[in-house]
Symmetry: C3
């Protein structure tokens, strides 16, 4: 349980599963495993109890750059929480593969890469520069669900033993 140990050393806890706003139905899993590939649905930041954080809306106006960086870091934790539930042990993740980072961009906000670094920096801190390395895009979207400032989808390589 190496990754769990590192999370504990960093004082980080994984949030509860997302509490959906009433009336919302999401008919898909947070993680879809196909052989050794695990596809990760779009995740956003969550508080410890799985509810949405108060920092919502457009990055650059409603949400500051620093808050958005934290939201991307929080999104990594949401994703790890889903991965732990699905895989049982985060050490089964052998390599990060692809990360697609979407920022809820106010008009003229072009610093999506700096925002999504909040995600990448934590993944690299936990998995190191080889396994944690990932291809990435970080771009500004017009609108994100639930007014979340950041949404990230990804793919990881896992071992096949279950």
């Amino acid at each position: 349980m190496l990754i769990e140990k590192r999370l504990a050393e960093l004082g980080l806890e994984l949030p509860e599963p997302m509490k959906l706003p009433s009336g919302v139905d999401l008919p898909f899993p947070w993680i879809r495993v196909i052989g050794t590939r695990a596809f990760i649905s779009g995740h956003g930041p969550l508080l410890a109890d799985g509810s949405l954080p108060p920092e919502l809306g457009k990055v650059g106006t409603d949400v500051t750059l620093a808050q958005a960086y934290e939201a991307a870091r929080s999104t990594a934790l949401s994703m790890l929480s889903s991965l732990r539930r699905e895989l049982g042990d985060l050490d089964r993740i052998k390599a990060w593969v692809r990360v697609f980072g979407m920022v809820n961009a106010a008009p003229g906000f072009t610093q999506a890469p700096t925002v999504i670094n909040g995600f990448s920096d934590l993944i690299l801190e936990l998995w190191g520069g080889e396994a944690g390395s990932h291809a990435r895009s970080a771009v500004g979207l017009a609108e994100l669900p639930f007014l979340i400032p950041v949404e990230i989808e990804a793919e990881v390589l896992i071992d096949s033993a279950e």
Copy 2:
């Protein structure tokens, strides 16, 4: 021909291939098969004859939520039409893998997930909860080609026999 049978039971027909507006050249296939992975180019809703539907533009202003849900369902049929032409038999699709749903969002329209449910609900109805399950993101885009309200790209797992 199990999936075909279910489509018939639901009274659904797959549309003709997309009729491109004059002057438009799309130099890529709708489906790209690499081994057992089939990558699906961005599809939109189509009428039975392959032409664009009248409900075009921004969801939230030009197009209602209910119309957009139907457009996402129609997009699934467009995609299945392309897959049937490429694979010969839709039963060759063993698992849905990844779905990336893009909504042509009017400013402030944050209900992309509800829209893209029109796609997911039909795929689940046809393939069931195991093979039909898929990782998904559903987000609001600034502009989509041809003013379509919804565009979806995806990946499926297919059998290797041809």
Copy 3:
């Protein structure tokens, strides 16, 4: 070195690696290889020396359609430059798989496919219609980093020998 030869015949040179604006940290590789899959991070257009071109901003207002087509073609060269550094030889690319083309769209600009054709046309010219074929989406984004008019991410299939 077949692809290199074709590039030379077309009079095309690959740019230097991207020179990052000061203060920008991108903690990820341009290419992530996992077995025979190479995942390509979001790339944009570059001048020969790796700096950003002068045509920046929204396509449809700041940048014309023709300039954006050229930017997408230039983005292909940026990507090939990264792939050559990572793979050693571009002939190791056996098939193009998936291309996701993002256009920095001015309000009402719906011609993303025509823009991204600048990328696809060059890839097809270099690899031919079989290996160069790719699943594709081409859509309008709200904001792109560094005000680049086009950003493209992709996946290619490579041989496994190194």
